[in-house]
Symmetry: C3
Subunit: 276 residues, 3 copies
């Protein structure tokens, strides 16, 4: 039976499982963040592969343990690729995670997301507050790809979106909210404001959600583990960067370091988990 | 009335405005530098968004405060996207900045640039000497995407190009030249040779020109502020890297750090501005 | 006459030639690694240019000193671009290097590689053991883009592939194998396991093979020089990262640093070359 509350040591067990099992994570993601996403996945222990060639999507999904879809930079070919891959993942029970980058920013993004959700069922959806509120049907003005609302404001929309789609919904913000379709809610109070000043941190968290879904069948717990790991690593990286008078450029590399090197004691002492 | 001479404290005021107002900068740029460009924009205070989906270009330009076009990696879809976006930006008086990467290297690049300049009016154009000379109609052999000429040699062609297009023209080199259509010329003697050993520094300067045009209506001054900030940050990063025995890999991260962290005293003590 | 054995000082001479001659290297590579590849080429002394626009491929190949093809992220347009560029390179005797990323992972990749090898002749082919074994016709299960076999197992297939194609074949692994069509084999025992945890290190080695082929006409020796340089730089970067308690994020920047800064004494003391 799925757990209804989680402790840091549960999430640490998932981090260790990821490091040991090294699942293959197939991403169809945007060109801006693809390199950083791949390095984040490698550092955390996963094996990334990225392709959107229609000719090989079914074959790649068939050997992958998770699929990650990110709509950051779209065109008709990529949208069709995501549709094909999502259906293939659903057919094979491969977990599929969706990042609705810029939801609400343009009608085209909203139409594309509606079509994707009509075509298949994501296991988890991760976005910032604006994106989740938009995807849940709220009238919210997303400003480009950065959030214009706080995560708290997105909790009710996230619950509605989870109930409607059956997916775990993760709202990133100063406090992250992880919402299951069955009503479970977990909050994570890790991270650092500078994480929003490095492109692709949110997208890379989505990729990590995919990686954890490959090793932890409870998608709510998997999403919590990914979010906690990214938040703890971000805290460590920001502290290290600031201690040496460095900024977000150096911090980006230290974030990857921390994803690889954080140990049990460091994780357990930092992870700040709250339940409703 | 537009200023005819600028001091470092004028440019610092623009840097502070950028950090406070966080304009949304829409880039259609090449796949090689998109990640670095986004991180440069975030570090300097802007909010980057990148898309070339034709379906949403007009909507994205409508919520952006600046548009940046970079022809580094082209195909027919991207060229049409740039044309649509440039026209939309002109129609809405959104400043549009053009980076003619590799101008002169192939006839295709030259044709593409001619078509873009026929389709719309960029607010500013930034390139290295070879690129600006080629775009100005000089017979110059561009070697790939790196310059084969010094910035001084491009001053007269830059003046001609500015007069013809109405755009501010910025020629990057050991000394950067910023030329307005009305004849104003400003030189900036900051930077470090290693900046040419990091891919995307020039492209990222172009992105910064867009960001500054979003907060400073005098495009000549905005271009000078962007160029000075990048030059000063490059100097700081090179000094820090060399002081620790590091090279251009470490310097790339330190450059992003410096864009974020340079303070008033540091900027004013370093900026080297000259007028004709 | 081509040398049959090589010493570290031979390879160092090629490294110095690369730094002095700065050849233009035209890459058609995957979107995940294009930024890192370009920075690796710049750090080692080459001048990178990346384009797959069909309209300019022949012109770009004509001014390049080497061509690099990487099938990491494919679509029909890119495959046609690679075919056009490979033929143009062959016609002009520009060295062309192929990275068969993910060979064996899907039938589409295998078909694409077969078509490329039917369309033209690469000067060198570099991959991990799974990829080389697959390309040589072995039935091997490639898991995404990471190898599932050791380099030793790929030696006989590499010999067969080299004999069949006429290309130098480089198998990357804990020990790298460089195999010429005439039977010469050289092994390089440099590198560090963490190099597999940074995306694009293998792809960047392939790019370096192209750069060295531009300055060293014996492709076997050029491939050895590239492999030795990357291996030595990786060792240095891993040592420096670990000495400061850092991980693979920091190491990626230090690897670029080491490619730029490694000196003769450092290279000669580290390079571990073996012949059969």
């Amino acid at each position: 039976m799925a757990r209804t509350t989680l402790e840091a040591r549960d999430l640490w067990a998932d981090i260790e499982a990821l490091r040991q099992r090294r699942p293959l994570v197939h991403s169809i993601t945007n060109v801006v963040v693809s390199n950083f996403n791949a390095n984040v996945l490698l550092a955390a222990g996963a094996s990334p592969v990225m392709t959107q060639a229609h000719e090989e999507l079914a074959d790649m999904v068939a050997i992958a343990q998770a699929l990650v879809l990110n709509i950051g930079t779209l065109d008709a070919y990529a949208v069709e690729a995501m549709t094909i891959a999502l259906r293939a993942a659903n057919a094979r029970a491969v977990p599929a995670v969706l990042d609705p980058v810029g939801a609400g920013a343009t009608p085209y993004r909203n139409r594309t997301l509606a079509a994707l959700l009509a075509a298949g069922r994501p296991t988890a959806i991760r976005g910032n507050a604006s994106e989740i509120m938009s995807l849940a049907g709220e009238a919210v003005a997303t400003r480009g790809v950065d959030s214009s609302a706080g995560a708290e404001a997105a909790l009710a929309p996230a619950r509605a979106l989870a109930a409607r789609t059956g997916a775990v919904v993760c709202v990133s913000g100063a406090v992250d909210h992880v919402v299951a379709a069955d009503g479970r809610v977990l909050r994570l109070a890790n991270g650092h404001e500078w994480m929003t000043r490095i492109t692709g941190v949110g997208c890379s968290l989505t990729a990590l959600v995919g990686a954890f879904c490959a090793v932890q069948p409870d998608a709510w717990r998997a999403t919590a583990a990914a979010t906690a790991l990214m938040g703890v690593a971000g805290e460590i990286a920001a502290e290290q960067a600031r201690a040496r008078g460095a900024g977000v450029g150096t911090m980006a590399a230290l974030l990857v370091d921390a994803l690889q090197l954080v140990d049990e004691a460091g994780f357990l002492s930092r992870a700040r988990i709250e339940h409703d």
